[in-house]
């Protein structure tokens, strides 16, 4: 008794429950839909390089005033504030190998709504029910730490150490050991023979499929441990930090929470609320990574984010040129 997204979107913005459904429509929800959330003075947090962090709070206050006149409309996601029940199933094809779809509640971040669960979403088992390979997760986490590291340590070599050009005493006759320079590695104050030489990088690339499987394993592990919460969108009624703190405390969402949405332009309220709280972070889907998922206890995904993640990971799992992509070595970008 599930509808596909396309049918759903074609018919009407409000989901009509089919016969036999046990849930009832909550009236008054439709009003909220238009007035509440979409006319926002949204804040552009992304710089020219498409990196978005939710924590540039200083800019937000200024930009809110600047953009007050030019209101940027937050694009309405596929799932908007709707009457319950809402059951989303993104898979249009059924596979031969029957692996049960995983299901998860769709929640709201609006604490006025009770209960907070407003719907149900079916998750693709290949993404959220993959076998969690701990070795691959470890590989990915280590790669993330190492590949951007640059070691700036440097020791001086013989010709770089000050002095030491002259032979200290003649080769023969003095009775002392023979030496050519007072800065040789044998001497105190001398050079270091095989010490670090600046700009040592530990760069390497994991293959694409290794990284894909890293993401799959981490998502599956987190889902199995009930650390993934799916939310319809990141709208909250107030921009105060205590609101979101209280919300997370009540729902027992871990000490650190990572909110992920499909876009990099985040709603105003949540940006300001989480700005001062450093363990609540916001990220776009393209910023998601194994390290962040391991660092933050709870991962809060919007429905749009889930759809995007599933689409991307399934694409990479089933891409026709997979054998080419896995075998080709990484080519440094030509400069």
């Amino acid at each position: 008794m599930s509808t596909s997204v396309t049918d759903f979107m074609k018919t009407s913005p409000v989901y009509e429950p089919t016969e036999g459904s046990t849930h009832t429509i909550q009236e008054g929800k439709e009003e909220d839909n238009t007035s509440f959330c979409k006319q926002l003075s949204c804040v552009c947090l992304c710089c020219s390089h498409l990196i978005c962090t939710g924590s540039y709070g200083v800019l937000i206050e200024l930009l809110v005033q600047v953009l007050h006149a030019a209101v940027m409309f937050y694009p309405a996601p596929a799932v908007s504030r709707l009457a319950a029940p809402l059951i989303l199933d993104t898979r249009t094809e059924r596979k031969r190998n029957i692996v049960d779809d995983r299901e998860a509640w769709i929640e709201t971040l609006d604490s006025d709504v009770s209960p907070s669960q407003i719907g149900l979403i079916k998750l693709h088992p290949d993404v959220f029910a993959a076998y969690p390979r701990l070795d691959i997760i470890h590989q990915n986490a280590v790669w993330q730490q190492k590949y951007r590291r640059v070691n700036y340590a440097q020791t001086k070599v013989l010709h770089e150490v000050r002095g030491g050009g002259r032979k200290p005493w003649p080769q023969k006759g003095s009775g002392r050991a023979r030496h050519g320079s007072i800065r040789s590695p044998l001497w105190i104050g001398g050079c270091k023979s095989h010490g670090p030489r600046a700009y040592t990088t530990e760069f390497y690339m994991l293959s694409l499929m290794d990284r894909v499987h890293g993401l799959l394993s981490t998502l599956s592990a987190k889902f199995a441990q009930d650390d993934i919460k799916i939310v319809e969108d990141l709208e909250i009624p107030s921009d105060e930090a205590p609101y979101i703190e209280k919300l997370c405390e009540e729902r027992h969402w871990g000490p650190a929470v990572l909110f992920v949405d499909d876009t990099d332009i985040m709603p105003r309220n949540i940006s300001i609320a989480t700005n001062t709280i450093f363990h609540y972070n916001i990220m776009p889907v393209y910023g998601l990574n194994v390290h962040s998922m391991l660092k933050h206890d709870t991962l809060v995904l919007t429905v749009a984010a889930v759809q995007r993640i599933e689409e991307r990971l399934l694409f990479h799992l089933n891409r026709p040129d997979r054998h080419i992509v896995t075998s080709s070595r990484f080519k440094r970008p030509a400069i």
């Binding site: 498409l50 760069f203 690339m205 694409l208 995007r308």
Partner: protein, 204 residues
């Protein structure tokens, strides 16, 4: 030197001698009464003899380290066995000593694990997978110097890359550094190609 009126001073040397004698007796700047009595006695001694230049005169010599016992105590106990380090602690957790002083234990300052750079570490590392595929993670490594993004190599390879990027600039504005870099490149070429084995030629 305090002005002593009781003595009739003829010779300058006598003044200096008297001054030094007053210091020896610890009288500088304080007790003028005692000064006068002591000095009078000296002068009386002096006058008894013919002249202090004659060989028969012998000055009164008394060796005294401290005039007052309080000064001796104030200086502290006598230092014995100089240079000997008595190792009192031989087991257990030993303090880190350097020249007879304990080094201070540094104040523990824990790192802020939720500072922005640490909280969002690793963001965009999967941008080629989860994005639209046009960007590669090496293109967004902004913490890495741009000439080192996506690069790994030994010192020789690194210097060649550095020369390729910055050679022209260095020739004009950092000539000594450029020269040193070239010398290093030449040395490494000779060392790597003539002194060490790289085991790669078999695969060629």
């Amino acid at each position: 030197v305090p002005c002593i009126c009781n003595i009739h001073i003829t010779d300058i040397k006598m003044v200096s001698v008297l001054g030094s004698l007053t210091k020896v007796f610890g009288l500088v700047g304080n007790n003028l009464f005692s000064t006068s009595t002591v000095v009078r006695s000296i002068s009386q001694c002096m006058t008894q003899n013919t002249s202090w230049k004659s060989q028969t005169w012998t000055p009164l010599v008394t060796t005294v380290r401290y005039r007052y016992y309080a000064d001796k105590i104030a200086k502290g106990p006598l230092l014995r066995n100089y240079g000997y380090e008595d190792k009192l602690h031989t087991k257990g957790l030993l303090p880190h000593m350097k020249s007879d002083r304990r080094l201070p234990i540094p104040i523990y300052r824990p790192k802020n694990n939720w500072a922005t750079k640490r909280a969002l570490f690793g963001q965009n590392d999967y941008i080629d997978i989860l994005g639209n595929g046009t960007l590669h993670p090496t293109q967004v490594c902004y913490s890495v110097p741009y000439w080192l993004r996506g690069f790994k190599g030994n010192e020789f390879q690194m210097l060649l890359r550095k020369r390729k990027f910055f050679g022209k600039h260095m020739r004009l504005y950092r000539p000594s550094k450029y020269r040193d870099m070239n010398l290093r490149i030449r040395w490494l070429y000779r060392y790597l190609n003539r002194k060490t084995r790289d085991y790669f030629w078999k695969k060629a």
